[in-house]
């Protein structure tokens, strides 16, 4: 199976700051479900950011979806991002847009027709158990509901890679279960690669997964 993400001697850090991820070597294949864990400040989110080009490698190489992430051109990065599904701990919804408009954002960016957008929004909101809330605004929803909107948005364009940063961090059990079910299904049924940064791997998980961990020194290991 082809690699979706390949890191060779990957070193990451912020400008004028010490290295956060050091010399990481790993590959993630199509259809893998990967959990990345580690203590606070170990660089889990930093590693995830590098996968969608928010942070450029300082040393080594990182290839995502066949694209070299070092000095990647703007248009290539936009193209890559339009095929990713990204979920954030703080949801990053657009507050002045309705739930439906938020969900179809990736489709709107890619120029899909209003009809396709509307159909897809209804389908996804049904999956995340938010049917009937299409016209609500994010601030009118609970944290768990907002995160489910975020997950629906990430799934809107059937991405080849879903990146999730603490998707269930502050959520109730019901919302957490809905989100894990959706991600399991995306991986199992659609062969989507899913990379989740989390503090805690869920107790019950129904599909095989890989587990990477980052230690205090910024070294990335796979736990078998």
């Amino acid at each position: 199976m082809s690699n979706v993400i390949t890191a060779n001697n990957l070193t990451l850090g912020y400008e004028n700051d010490e290295e956060i991820i050091k010399d990481a070597n790993f590959s993630i294949k199509k259809g893998d479900f990967v959990f990345i864990t580690g203590p606070s400040g170990s660089g889990k989110s930093t590693l995830l950011k590098s996968f969608y080009g928010n942070l450029s490698p300082q040393e080594g190489s990182l290839v995502v979806g066949g694209l070299d992430m070092i000095d990647i051109k703007k248009n290539k990065l936009q193209e890559l991002r339009s095929h990713l599904g990204i979920v954030f701990q703080d949801y990053k919804l657009i507050n002045e847009w309705t739930v439906e408009k938020n969900v179809v954002l990736p489709l709107w960016i890619s120029g899909y027709s209003a009809e396709v957008q509307s159909t897809q929004a209804k389908r996804l909101l049904h999956h995340v158990k938010l049917s009937g809330k299409e016209e609500k605004y994010p601030m009118e929803l609970s944290g768990g509901e907002q995160q489910r909107v975020g997950v629906a948005r990430a799934l809107a364009k059937n991405p080849f890679l879903i990146l999730a940063d603490e998707p269930t961090g502050n959520l109730d059990e019901y919302s957490s279960n809905v989100i894990w079910d959706l991600m399991e299904n995306a991986c199992h049924q659609l062969d989507t690669t899913v990379v989740v940064v989390t503090h805690r791997i869920p107790m019950v998980f129904n599909i095989p997964y890989r587990h990477f961990t980052i230690d205090e020194n910024g070294s990335v290991y796979e736990i078998h």
């Binding site: 969608y52 928010n54 248009n75 990065l77 936009q78 193209e79 890559l80 991002r81 339009s82 095929h83 990713l84 990204i86 990053k92 919804l93 657009i94 507050n95 002045e96 847009w97 954002l105 990736p106 960016i109 948005r153």
Partner: protein, 268 residues
């Protein structure tokens, strides 16, 4: 109500800038024609020993545009010297009189310099520049011109600062959306599309308001005015091409503002 609230904060400073621009254009047009009439009404009187051509005068100063010789017989007529024999001998002994027109409405320094250059000629006996009349007109004209330009300048500065303030508001209102859109792969144009649309509407409204103000001034006030300079230029006060100038300027200003906001939104 929400529409008005969203748009008025940009329309107000834009109208201030556009009013400044249109005032400048109108002022430039009207003062230009006034300047020409002052220039046409002014001439310098020269008395010379021998006859001089335009080239002779130009050799002393380039600002001399036109030379008109005053006929000696007409001068004698004015002096009521009608007896033919006396007139002829007197006419022969008279020097030559010229009226000089200049190529523009010169500053007092430039006028003095023309005079000094002509004085260098041994052939020229007398130069009358009517400087005191020229000076009073020139100083009044310069004062009005600079007062108006200062007013326009400050109006534009206020408009500029209000737009900078509006850019900060835009940044606050639109940055979150643009950052999220960037993460999901939206191009720069797509990210700024909402802001561009809003700014374009405001630019069009502002240009129409400013044109309306000047159309009103032109038709409801200037046409009935007793101010000569305005009455003479009433049709030049506002032309339809001004609407396009204002529209272009307005769009130019808002697009720069939008561009500066958009490029300052950095992904977290």
């Amino acid at each position: 109500m929400k529409f008005i609230k969203t748009h008025i904060s940009l329309i107000f400073p834009l109208v201030a800038i556009l009013l400044g621009l249109e005032f400048f254009i109108v002022f430039d047009r009207t003062t230009d024609s006034f300047e020409k009439s002052l220039q046409n009404g002014y001439s310098m009187m020269i008395v010379s020993k021998d006859e001089m051509s335009i080239d002779d005068f130009k050799a002393w100063d380039e600002h001399i545009e036109k030379v008109e010789e005053l006929e000696k017989s007409k001068i004698l007529e004015r002096l009521k010297m009608t007896e033919s024999s006396k007139q002829k001998s007197f006419e022969a002994s008279l020097p030559n009189f010229y009226s000089l027109k200049l190529d523009g409405y010169l500053t007092l320094e430039e006028l003095e310099s023309v005079k000094n250059n002509l004085k260098k000629s041994n052939n020229i006996l007398t130069i009358e520049s009517f400087q005191s009349s020229y000076q009073s007109k020139y100083e009044l004209f310069s004062f009005i011109k600079s007062a108006f330009q200062t007013f326009i300048f400050f109006m534009s500065i206020i408009g500029f600062f209000l737009i900078v303030k509006q850019m900060e508001v835009w940044n606050f209102l639109h940055a979150q959306r643009m950052k999220v859109m960037e993460i999901f792969g939206a191009s720069l144009f797509l990210r700024s599309k909402i802001l561009i649309n809003m700014a374009l509407i405001d630019a069009i409204i502002s240009a129409i308001i400013t044109s309306g103000v000047f159309y009103f001034i032109q038709n409801a006030w200037v046409r009935g005015s007793q101010i000569e300079i305005l009455k003479e230029n009433v049709d030049r006060m506002f032309t339809y091409s001004d609407l396009f100038i204002l529209l272009f300027a307005s769009i130019f200003v808002v697009m720069i503002a939008v561009f500066l906001v958009v490029i300052n939104v950095k992904e977290e």
